[in-house]
């Protein structure tokens, strides 16, 4: 085996690992961000006892536990929602729709990227989603958030650039 061949084989393996790592990172990031939109805090139901008897005031043990449920779902956090609603460029009907689909869209795109289902198209749509989030944050002057999303966009573009090295995909087309 020549030096050139060794070099290219090694490079290909590194590029494949790179593609896989990026794919995993972007998938985890999208899926968990989507799932967190279903997260809420559930306070303890355990009644406090005073003099050995359940108290008559309804006091319960302090503390809460995090739990996931569809009733907790908030696509766009309430605090941001109010700011977006006040933005003249924001389409009136689009915001509730966006709020409704943001979480599920992140989860679906995360899963397709994780499983390698139409990876390139999934990455493209994930990029579009991040652009939409960026636009919203520009409107309300959240520059830190815009920068974070800029980093995400770089990773999406890198993943697309490494698409030819993507392995273990369920649906390679698209």
């Amino acid at each position: 085996m020549s030096n050139e061949e060794t070099c290219c084989t090694g490079n290909k393996l590194a590029l494949t690992y790179g593609a896989l790592l990026l794919r995993l990172w972007l998938a985890v990031r999208a899926i968990q961000t989507g799932l967190e939109k279903y997260a809420g805090a559930k306070a303890s139901d355990e009644a406090v006892k005073i003099d050995g008897a359940v108290n008559e005031y309804g006091l319960t043990a302090a503390g809460s536990v995090k739990h996931y449920a569809t009733v907790n779902y908030h696509g766009v956090p309430d605090a941001l929602m109010k700011k977006f609603e006040a933005e003249p460029l924001m389409l009136k009907g689009a915001l509730p729709l966006y709020d409704k689909f943001l979480g599920p869209a992140l989860i679906v795109l995360g899963v397709t990227i994780l499983l390698g289902v139409a990876s390139r198209t999934s990455l493209f749509f994930l990029g579009l989603l991040y652009i939409s989030l960026t636009w919203g944050l520009i409107l309300i002057k959240q520059d830190d958030g815009v920068s974070w999303l800029g980093v995400h966009m770089i990773l999406v573009v890198m993943a697309l650039a490494l698409a030819e090295h993507n392995r273990f995909a369920l649906l390679k087309k698209w």
Binding site: S44, V48, N55, A62, S64, K92
Partner: protein, 451 residues
């Protein structure tokens, strides 16, 4: 004090529903009907209309969603945006659309079989809306402050007592288990404060939380509609809390919740108020943005001085809380449990027994600060031991007060804060701004505080 108005009794309920069944009528019939609750137990359905479904209306609705047996029959708001949001939220909750109205008179004329209304309109509409609904034979839950004027509040008490209907005012701390426990068990029951000599309370709100509320110009309400309902323009509609003709300003908007606790816990009204206020930052606002008030109380146990400050420029100082300080201990309580603590004076008898019985919970002592050259040790008191309430509660802040209201409507209990209770605690608050404006103390007479 007059007895509280009679709630709907079980006997009334049974006789009315039987009569309804016999006649085969539905519309116009008494509407408290059996409904299955979440836990499967039977409860009586209460038909509710929501009057004012803006920000506070939404807070109340979110709390009411957890209360079994409520049917939201109608919503009313002059702003289409709020109305449509409320219709969507109610429909999502109960799988049926409420009827939407822009005018309360239309709602009252058309909606049959209502049991109760929940009013969360701007302060200057509370009294007219409450009086209308009571006169229409409905039970009313109305947000505090009762009114922007003391005469408006007086009219609400009179209407409640004349109609015989229930009128709960939204001082939600009155139903908060932590506050009720503190008063009954700690202050009155075990007298852990000893003699209360001083009360101190505040609501320090950050400047960015106190800015005018912006709005999407596309959603602006027509001027003719705004004018009809007492608003000069959309800005005034969104920011009515900052206008003197429409509200009492921060001292009533924020302070009323906490000053209410002073009189409730002490069991007597104050004898005077001396206030200072000004436009420290929001120069163009009609209301003061920074108010301090001192109330003097004569209680059976002795004199109490209570200071209150509301500040809309700075959050430093722990947000909002009330502190009751006595010879043996102090209780700092807040709607936010994390802002609460109980302190034992070094000279007070041991509280170990309270801890053993579960009445109090001991909290870890803060780390002792290192010796400092700039402090004279002999001047400082020993740090008090720190305790906490034995528990919290696991519901939205307004839910217990709304539960108390709806349980009263069902005849199962009595109101924790009917209009008369609320008037007794709110009456002194109406004199804070006049005292601050004149820079003079006001000694209360019957004319100031009575109906």
């Amino acid at each position: 004090m007059n007895p509280p108005p009679s709630p709907i009794s079980r006997r009334d309920f049974l006789s009315k529903t039987m009569a309804t069944a016999g006649a085969g009528l539905v519309l116009g019939a008494p509407s408290i009907l059996r409904a299955a609750s979440v836990d499967g137990a039977s409860t009586e359905q209460v038909k509710v209309a929501l009057i004012g479904v803006g920000k506070q209306g939404r807070v109340l609705f979110e709390a009411m969603k957890n209360i079994p047996g409520l049917h939201f029959q109608a919503v009313c708001d002059i702003w289409k945006y709020n109305r449509e949001n409320a219709v969507r939220s109610v429909e999502a909750h109960q799988n049926s659309k409420p009827t939407a109205y822009s005018d309360i008179d239309e709602l009252l004329a058309n909606e049959k079989g209502l049991d109760a209304v929940v009013i969360a309109t701007p302060d200057f509409w509370h009294s007219p809306h409450t009086v209308k609904c009571l006169e229409a034979g409905l039970n009313v839950y109305c947000e505090k402050m009762m009114s922007n004027t003391i005469d408006g509040a007086r009219a609400m008490v009179r209407a409640m007592e004349k109609s015989g209907k229930l009128c709960q005012i939204g001082h939600q701390r009155r139903s908060n288990p932590r506050y009720r426990y503190t008063l009954d068990k700690l202050i009155n029951g075990n007298k852990i404060c000893g003699q209360i000599t001083n009360i101190n309370a505040q609501w320090n709100r950050a400047v960015n939380s106190s800015q005018d509320i912006a709005f999407n110009k596309k959603l602006t309400i027509e001027d003719a509609i705004l004018n009809k309902y007492g608003f000069a323009d959309m800005n005034q509609f969104m920011n009515w809390r900052t206008f003197r003709a429409l509200s009492g300003g921060p001292i009533s908007d924020l302070g009323a919740h906490q000053i209410d606790i002073f009189g409730w816990f002490l069991g007597v009204p104050p004898k005077s108020v001396f206030a200072s206020g000004g436009h420290s930052y929001f120069k163009k606002r009609e209301h003061f943005d920074n108010v301090m008030a001192i109330f003097d109380f004569d209680t059976p146990a002795g004199e109490v001085r209570a200071s209150y400050q509301v500040l809309t420029t700075t959050s430093y100082g722990g947000g909002f809380w009330e502190s009751f300080m006595g010879t043996e201990g102090s209780i700092k309580i807040s709607e936010i449990a994390a802002n609460s603590a109980i302190y034992r004076e070094g000279s007070a008898p041991s509280w170990d027994d309270y801890v053993d019985r579960g009445i109090l919970k001991r909290t870890p002592a803060p780390p002792k600060p290192p010796p400092s050259a700039d402090a004279v040790a002999s001047y400082a008191s020993a740090a008090p031991e720190t305790f906490d309430l034995p528990g919290g509660f696991n519901k939205p802040a307004h839910q217990p007060h709304l539960e108390n209201f709806f349980n009263s409507v069902r005849g199962k209990t009595t109101l924790n804060c009917n209009a008369r209770h609320a008037f007794e605690s709110e009456a002194p608050i109406y004199w804070v701004n006049p005292s601050a404006l004149k820079c003079q103390p006001i000694e209360f007479t019957a004319e100031h505080l009575s109906l």
